[in-house]
């Protein structure tokens, strides 16, 4: 895409808002394994809560985007939505959560729908998902990776982190700071799955999964549902809460056969940063927090570097416990992230951003939150700046 067309991203600025959010109780159902729990049920609970949160009537919802739920039809049927005029299905991968918000905003801003409910349901823990070893059939992974025992997104991230270590001398200590910080934030989040604080000794002593990464670098595997509802900024001003505007958003990619990128996705992430900060009133110093996609802790390193918070290779030094804490220069993953709050593949990070910008987060509230960042580094990367609309 040329720079000229990228400036058209300005057309979406502040046009749409997230007006309702809903999440299931992550901690409570983690302790209550239920093999019959369906992802649709979790999506339904989240939708019901988001609708009530927004103060919208169900009949006002005319668009639905589902993710990780195999079929839009079943979801629409269960929530009694017979005649939506904008429907889409996104696969259950974390890269898609930011994309769901982008599609919803595009639909609303262009008149394809007035109110879009984005619904996610994940019964991974109850259904025994392992996120490794499932490679079957004639996919390149099954044919050319599984025979060597290569499997799982975590192992791929471990490959990238080892390369980062080699190239820049990065140690695992900054990963520990990220895991510890996530856990400290989760301890202040009543809805989080993991609330017992951890220390650097805990981190360094955790068992390896795909060395150099160990258990506390990894996202949880838990059940849950998340919903956020998007409508126009204008309509948002008549609803229950201070609107949270989609202030800037962008997508970029680096799609290769082996998932990894030799530059740790610097190119797509810096493209996103350029896009966001070109149109945004808020620059890096103005962000109250960043919700960074943390399927595995090294992904946050790559994101910080790619988004220009530090130079390539310097994230290990940049990350200090003070800087990333709730009272620091750039609080990260204020709700506890995927490693401690809930593995909702980016969806709960979006909800946490909204709740922070509404100033609803109680003990973990970041002071004076006006702008916040969401970013996901992956072969398909996304980023947004969200804005509290005080008007």
């Amino acid at each position: 895409m040329t720079q000229a067309s990228r400036t058209e991203l300005r057309n979406l600025q502040d046009k749409t808002a997230i007006v309702g959010v809903g999440t299931t109780q992550f901690g409570a159902i983690y302790r209550d394994l239920d093999p019959e729990r369906s992802a649709y049920e979790l999506g339904l609970i989240a939708f019901r809560e988001a609708l009530q949160d927004a103060g919208l009537k169900r009949s006002e919802v005319d668009g639905v985007i589902v993710s990780r739920l195999p079929h839009y039809g079943r979801m629409c049927e269960m929530i009694g939505l017979r005649h939506p005029r904008f429907v889409n299905v996104l696969p259950g991968e974390g890269r898609q959560s930011g994309i769901a918000l982008q599609y919803a905003a595009l639909a609303v801003a262009n008149g394809m729908a007035d109110v879009v409910a984005c619904i996610y349901g994940n019964n991974g823990r109850s259904s025994g998902a392992r996120y490794g070893g499932e490679d079957r059939g004639t996919t390149p992974q099954a044919m050319f990776e599984a025979p060597y025992g290569m499997t799982s997104p975590g192992a791929v991230t471990a490959m990238m982190f080892r390369r980062h270590q080699y190239r820049y001398g990065t140690t695992t200590e900054p990963l520990g700071h990220l895991a510890i910080s996530n856990r400290a934030n989760a301890a202040l989040n009543p809805n989080a799955v993991m609330q017992r604080p951890i220390t650097m000794d805990d981190y360094l002593g955790a068992r390896y999964i795909a060395e150099p990464l160990s258990l506390l670098d990894y996202c949880l595997i838990n059940d849950g549902g998340v919903c956020f509802i998007v409508t126009s900024a204008e309509r948002a001003r008549d609803l229950n809460h201070t609107p949270v505007l989609l202030h800037a958003t962008s997508q970029a990619s680096d799609i290769t056969p082996v998932y990894v990128a030799d530059d740790f996705w610097h190119e797509p992430m810096s493209q996103i940063a350029d896009d966001l900060f070109a149109v945004s009133e808020a620059q890096r110093d103005d962000l109250a927090f960043a919700q960074l996609y943390d399927n595995f802790t090294p992904t946050m390193l790559f994101t910080l570097e790619g988004m220009g918070f530090c130079e390539p290779g310097e994230s290990g030094d940049w990350i200090t416990p003070e800087r990333i804490s709730l009272h620091g220069e750039l609080p990260l993953n204020t709700g506890g992230g995927h490693t401690s709050e809930s593995y909702m593949q980016g969806w709960a990070l979006h909800v946490e951003a909204v709740r922070q910008l509404r100033h609803e987060c109680g003990e973990r509230q970041v002071a004076n939150a006006q702008y916040g960042l969401y970013a996901c580094a992956a072969p398909l990367a996304t980023g947004h700046i969200l804005k509290r609309d005080d008007r």
């Binding site: 471990a158 490959m159 390369r163 080699y166 060395e211 056969p257």
Partner: protein, 148 residues
């Protein structure tokens, strides 16, 4: 990975061989590592695909490659995701090889202690027979000093 580990090898995941990938496995069985090259623009690619990703044309052929490359990165897998690896095989090593010709290939390393592995280590292909149909390419430290 070697064939002397009795029963465990048989339960490890085996690649399904299909029309597209058969020449790759036929080559491995004969000790030749080959990948697809475009006859129009000479681009090599891996894993196999039905057309050149640059030209989009299906005028391509399998050509033997040097078998040389470098370790882009490597891990030790501790988690028991797959059946087939015996308890004493954990952790096992998986490496991502950057082939001299450009494409990347996941594999494993042989004839080297994990303590001596490093990114950018020069490696060369070797073959390990699994069964009548499948021989897996693996990589060992390069012996030649002037090959690259």
């Amino acid at each position: 990975m070697s064939t002397d580990t009795t029963n465990s090898t048989e339960q490890k995941p085996l690649p399904p061989v299909n029309r597209l990938t058969k020449p790759f496995w036929d080559g491995c069985r004969e000790g030749v590592l080959q990948i697809q090259f475009c006859n129009i623009c000479d681009l090599p690619w891996f894993p196999p695909a039905e057309a050149c990703p640059r030209c989009l044309q299906d005028d391509w052929e399998w050509r033997p490659i040097s078998g040389h490359g470098t370790v882009w990165s490597w891990i030790r897998m501790w988690q028991k995701y797959f059946p087939g690896w015996a308890a004493d095989e954990y952790p096992y090593t998986v490496a991502l090889i950057k082939l001299e010709e450009g494409p990347y290939m996941y594999s494993t390393l042989v004839d080297i202690d994990d303590r001596d592995v490093s990114c950018d280590l020069s490696v060369e292909v070797e073959f390990r027979t699994v069964n009548e149909e499948i021989t897996l390419p693996v990589f060992r430290p390069s012996r030649g000093t002037t090959e690259r």
